[in-house]
Amino acid sequence: MTGIEREVVIVGAGPAGISAACVVAETGRSALLIDDNPSPGGQIWREQDRHGSDWQASHWLRRMHLYRVDVMSGATVIDGDPGRRAIVCETANSVSTIRYKKLILATGARELFLPFPGWTLPNVMGAGGLQALVKSGMPISGKRVVVAGSGPLLLAVGAYLKGQGARVLAIAEQASWSRLARFGLGLPKQPYKLAETWQLKRALFRVPYRAGAWVEAALGGTVLERVRLRVSHRYWEAPCDYLAVGYGLVPNIELAVSLGCQLSGGCVQVDSMQQTSVPDILCAGETTGIGGVELALMEGRIAGFSAIGDRLNAQWLFSDRERFRRFARRLQKAFTLREELRHLPSEETLVCRCEDVSYRRIAPMSGWRAAKLHTRCGMGPCQGRVCGPAAEFLFGWNCQSARPPVFPARIDSLIEHVDK
């Protein structure tokens, strides 16, 4: 057990956390960046620290090293005590209590996974999930992949996989062309505008992008063999090796909630200085609302300035932040999930993958807590991170609940951290 103290502690080493840490460290203050993944970068800059190719990533990662931001990778924040300004952090074989003057939560987002028949077969993965695995060494060259779900991430993933030599058979976007067009995001048949936003136009050359299309079922014996898509009123079926499907992003609010931060619309509520409802706890990036890397960087910097009391420099960034937020809201509307997705699971489709609880057993329950207690849904190790948002979408329940530990934690970690 070690006792550590830093002026500013940042949880989450994605763009928001890294930019916040840099702002703090550049003024000579001590900043500690904690992240549960094995190297810094968060979702979008995964493995950029090792094999950098993205200019923005290398810019920020270089600054992070230059200004000697302390980075603790492979460390999960499992609990905290705002009264004592302390958090508890666990690694594979140690636990430490870390005290802060200011805490910045930049815990990012995860993908929204929705159940459909066959979604539990091995090799059915998240869209960002498959990308992450490939970035961390999984071979994909020559493999047949279908990318599906919703949102701009599908394009990023499709382009990335193609660049790595995968045969991307299709990108299936559930939102319709007309919806994308209405929000100025696509022209019939070619998502140029959308692709431009993500600088992916060229990378996606010749990958069929189908809007108004979604996965009806993944088929296979013990592993994925084929995928069946619904394209408006027709079906499209093809053999494939991997199905990468994600329906947008869900903010990782669990740590913030367990520290007592108030939410608004499912995201952590912050004021103009990224301050949450709990004193000395700030929040930035996807956790305050899904908005992409530019917004995450902007919020991270503002949170950094805010943490060191530099209101003036923070204010310079407000108008840019507002611009990105507006764009984010438009994206969210364009990619609103269609009603049909609620009816994809069959009676036997599992909704809770940890405890193998079927749709049939969960559907009659009166709410999330009743479902948890009577069916064990959400009671497994993911603590409802996957089935909670799914149940929220399927049944309209409020599935937010956060108890310590925020992630499964070793028992000794829960013994050690108190009163130290």
């Binding site: 005590d81 009577h374 190790p381 499964p408 070793r410 028992i411 000794d412 829960l414 009163d419």
Partner: protein, 370 residues
């Protein structure tokens, strides 16, 4: 108009509803939340014979036998397993308690067996070495209480009972159950089975909350095989009015471990108290050091409905003719729910009960002597 109106769909309300429905009575159950949402969801589900007093023994043993009858019909999700209990003795002083308990149970025909240090080690290899022994009480069991409550209410429903959720009772008197919109559901007999909240309906009931923490782990099948409880609490303060912790671990059918226990008085906030949790887990690892490295999934708290003499309140409420209580079961309400329901129905039907109901009567003097 119902024959019986029950406030509360915890395991006690559910058991009462089932017994009443079996007698052909027209039953309504009113629950402010959902089935088993209170202590029934929070508890450990250890069905255990206790010997703190003759009255406690009588009720727990009677109820345990009812559990054995019920077990064969319980669906899988109720997770009934007869694990037995090992009362673990750390030293010679505690071994003498083992022998005393053994004698107590033997005289009352409860199957139990003394384990010496070696046989304890063989029975539970994860326990640290150097313990003195244990008493193995064989017929104790574990269940998953919320699903049992649901099952009992399903059976009651099959027999015509109505179970209404989201109905908070604000008044329970000789006429019926009153709601905040001014409406009343009339009944011939009313039962307060609101658990730790029973006193918010009938403030005269001597019930105070006693908070407990529990932790559940990932699945480690076979890690322990019996419910394990320390006898050290005799020396620690677990029985007095100070906050206390004790080693208490339960193997679930899933292979998960449920770890307790803590007792805090007059605390009714559901927040997790990190310091008592830490003490509770530290205590557990003193008995099973290898617990330290296991992964925990969740921690939660629950409120036991405590009475001054630690016995439940079962029977007619003073000042009423038709209002009954079935509450105040402290840390044993899962165990004693079935017997509680039998005592209640016997009283309603003016039948002579299997055990004397006097020690649990609501009118009794609950003050503790000595």
């Amino acid at each position: 108009m119902y024959d019986v109106v029950i406030a509360g769909a915890g395991i006690v309300g559910a058991a009462c509803a089932y017994e009443c429905a079996r007698e052909g009575l027209k039953v309504a159950v009113l629950e402010r939340d959902f089935i088993g949402a209170g202590a029934t969801a929070a508890g450990m589900g250890h069905v255990v014979v206790m010997d703190d007093s003759e009255a406690q023994f009588a009720l727990t043993r009677y109820s345990q036998q009812l559990w054995q009858e019920l077990a064969s019909e319980l669906p899988d999700d109720c997770e009934y397993v007869q694990t037995g209990t090992l009362w673990v003795a750390a030293d010679e002083e505690e071994m003498s308690e083992v022998r005393r308990k053994h004698q107590f149970y033997s005289q009352r025909k409860v199957p139990s067996e003394i384990l010496d240090a070696r046989s304890l080690d063989a029975a539970e290899p994860q326990l640290r070495t150097g313990l003195a022994g244990a008493l193995f009480v064989k017929e104790d069991a574990v269940v998953y209480p919320p699903c049992v409550a649901r099952y009992l209410l399903e059976r009651a429903r099959d027999l015509g009972a109505r179970v209404l959720m989201g109905r908070q009772v604000i008044r329970l008197d000789d006429e019926g159950a009153g709601f905040d919109d001014g409406t009343v559901m009339k009944g011939a007999v009313m039962v307060n089975a609101a658990g730790a909240h029973a006193a918010s309906v009938h403030p005269d009931l001597p019930i105070v909350p006693r908070k407990g923490h529990l932790l559940i782990t990932e699945r480690y099948p076979g890690f322990v095989r019996h419910q394990l409880i320390e006898l050290g609490y005799l020396k620690s303060a677990h029985k007095s009015a100070a906050d206390s912790v004790a080693f208490n671990i339960q193997p679930r059918k899933t292979g998960q471990l449920l770890i307790g226990s803590s007792r805090q008085y007059a605390v009714d906030s559901p927040e997790i108290d990190r310091s008592i949790l830490s003490r509770m887990l530290a205590r557990a690892t003193q008995y099973i050091p290898t617990l330290a490295g296991l992964s925990s999934l969740r921690v939660w708290t629950g409120l036991r409905a405590a009475t001054p003499d630690n016995l439940p309140l079962i029977g007619r409420c003073p000042g009423y003719r038709y209002v009954f209580a079935a509450a105040g079961h402290e840390g044993l309400g899962i165990t004693t729910s079935l017997a509680t329901a039998r005592l209640l129905i016997d009283e309603l039907m003016s039948r002579s009960p299997a055990i004397s109901p006097e020690p649990y009567s609501v009118q009794r003097n609950t003050a503790v002597h000595g």
